[in-house]
Amino acid sequence: MAATAAFVRTAPEPVLPAPMLQRGAAAWLRNNLFSSPASSILTIALAALALWLLPGLIAWATVNAVWSAPDGALCRSRQDGACWAFIAQKLDIFRYGLYPPDQRWRVDVTELAGAALIAWLLWPGAPHRAIAVGLFFVVYPLLAFVLLHGSMRLGLPIIDTALWGGIFVSLLTALVGIVFSLPLGVLLALGRRSRLPVIRLVSVVYIESLRGVPFITVLFMANTMLPLFLPEAWTPDRLLRPLVGTVLFAAAYLAEEVRGGLQIIPKGQFEGAMALGLSYRQMMGLVILPQALTFVIPGIVNNFIGLFKDTTLISIVGTLDFLETVQDAFKDPVWSGPTIADTGYAFAALFYFVFCFGMSRYSLAMERRLAAGRRL
């Protein structure tokens, strides 16, 4: 330092560029991969592990794989590669279950309409999202029911739900579970914080008892006990029962997630809303829940992802979900071979991963969007 350094500035200090080590690819490598000895060792170890595992996996899935074959003979001879021909051959079963082949366009239309509406609904800048809400929550369920189940008046043969299966049933279960369990969870969370002891007690008993038993138990109970509680004429459809079980079970978990969000809202927000004359419903709907739900997006999506994968369990009460159709296909003697099960499970894993990863990325993007400039 210069001996003549002045304590009082006579001119403003210039703004200097950051040192080179702070920027660029070299700096990124140093900061993220080799920031300390332990981090460097970890980086090298993981790189070695990837080099050891990935080439074999990629070769198995690509160059060594059988891409097309009329039956399992070729797959049986190529045991170091996946048998994608099996997937291609069985894809219709995986997608539709036992739904009659000449009626499968109805499933396609329902899926496409649903995908379009969901995209419209989830796209942040999309126009007229209020219309999308109306279409998705009111029109779409009716349309889907008429299309999938059928209506003699419209000339669509009735397809019994016992024939429904595959990917579309898995998606249907997940969608119904997500759409119905969130509002129910919010109500239960509010109920658990209610000042009225009866409402609080009912909510607590519901949440604790549903959370306290395995999902499979809930499914069995929905399957056998729902018909007992309802009059015979209303005996719920065999597919509806696991749907109800899924919703009831997921709602208990979501309720606790939402309650966590409600608890981090400062008391001042309630008081600010009350002082303006807002009623309880307005306060909750306009001020408290929008903030509370934003805070717990990661937890809610975590639950949705869990719910999506748990739909594989509904096969236990006889519903033909996607994973069940895959496992059923293993039994086909034409395709029997040592690589069939690996291939089938890899395909199923890929399917679940794509959807769950998509949900996860969407929630991250949402969080960032909602967080921008809004934190107090």
Binding site: G272, L276, Q282, R374, L376
Partner: protein, 253 residues
């Protein structure tokens, strides 16, 4: 039963008659009686824990009193939710911690209650909010979120939000206590201009300069009771009570 117990055009905006309040076993308000006339400005001061915030929060029923009567704008506060909401519509409140809604813009903060509580059409509510935001000099911040504003700007936004409901009475609960010193002035100026227009105001504050300039009466509270109440000139020049003298000697230099 008629909710409006006072005659038409009651002289009293706020009437507290023998009000008691306990937190558990702690006696927070002890037999407090106070009348605030229409257009009157009352400043309540006192050491922390003296019950002044509890008192002002009882006026719009954010705290519930357990004995005595509280009549606001002719409506007696009971546990009847309808009456409480009726009173809150006419009584604006400004908090120490602002309590703006962080997920809404400043403008949306201002129009929320008029639209949902008063059923004002959105465009009309936005007109009123725009005027009031201009009045508190933060119109340029209207489309920002509260988190992007300084403390002083947030508090002025909170005042505008309360005024958007066109209240008859304004309550201020230590409005400048959580502000940086350089922002206190801008908030106090807003409050002075409000007082000059004849708004009925009840203000809990330690800003004795504001009390001197604006208040019609200054009340001193200690241990949950109003110890002394007087016009500001008398109150500051000749405090009657030992506790008042002690308090004033501690906060005035």
């Amino acid at each position: 039963m008629d909710a409006r117990t006072a005659p038409a055009g009651p002289a009293m905006a706020i009437e507290l008659i023998g009000v008691h309040k306990w937190y558990g076993a702690f006696h927070a308000l002890r037999n407090v009686s106070l009348g605030v006339a229409r257009g009157e400005r009352i400043v309540v001061c006192g050491p922390s824990g003296s019950g002044k915030s509890t008192l002002i929060r009882c006026v719009n029923h954010l705290e519930q009193h357990q004995r005595g009567r509280i009549i606001v704008d002719g409506v007696e506060l009971t546990n009847d939710v309808k009456r409480i909401e009726e009173v809150r519509r006419e009584v604006g409140m400004v908090f120490q911690s602002f309590n703006l809604f962080p997920h809404l813009t400043v403008l949306e903060n201002c129009t929320l209650a008029p639209i949902w509580v008063r059923r004002t059409p959105k465009a009309a509510a936005e007109d009123v909010a725009t005027q009031l935001l201009a009045r508190v000099k933060i119109l340029d911040q209207a489309n920002k979120y509260p988190g992007q504003l300084s403390g002083g700007q947030q508090q002025r936004a909170a005042i505008a939000r309360a005024l958007c409901m066109n209240p008859k009475i304004m309550l201020f609960d230590e409005p400048t206590s959580s502000l940086d010193p350089e922002m206190v002035k801008e908030v106090l100026e807003t409050m002075v201009s409000l007082a000059e227009e004849g708004m009925t105001m009840m203000v809990v504050t330690h800003e004795m300069g504001f009390a001197r300039q604006v208040a019609d009466r200054v009340a001193f509270m200690d241990n949950g009771e109003i110890v002394e109440i007087n016009a500001p000139v008398e109150f500051f020049a000749h405090p009657q009570h030992e506790r008042t003298k002690l308090f004033l000697s501690q906060i005035l230099h």
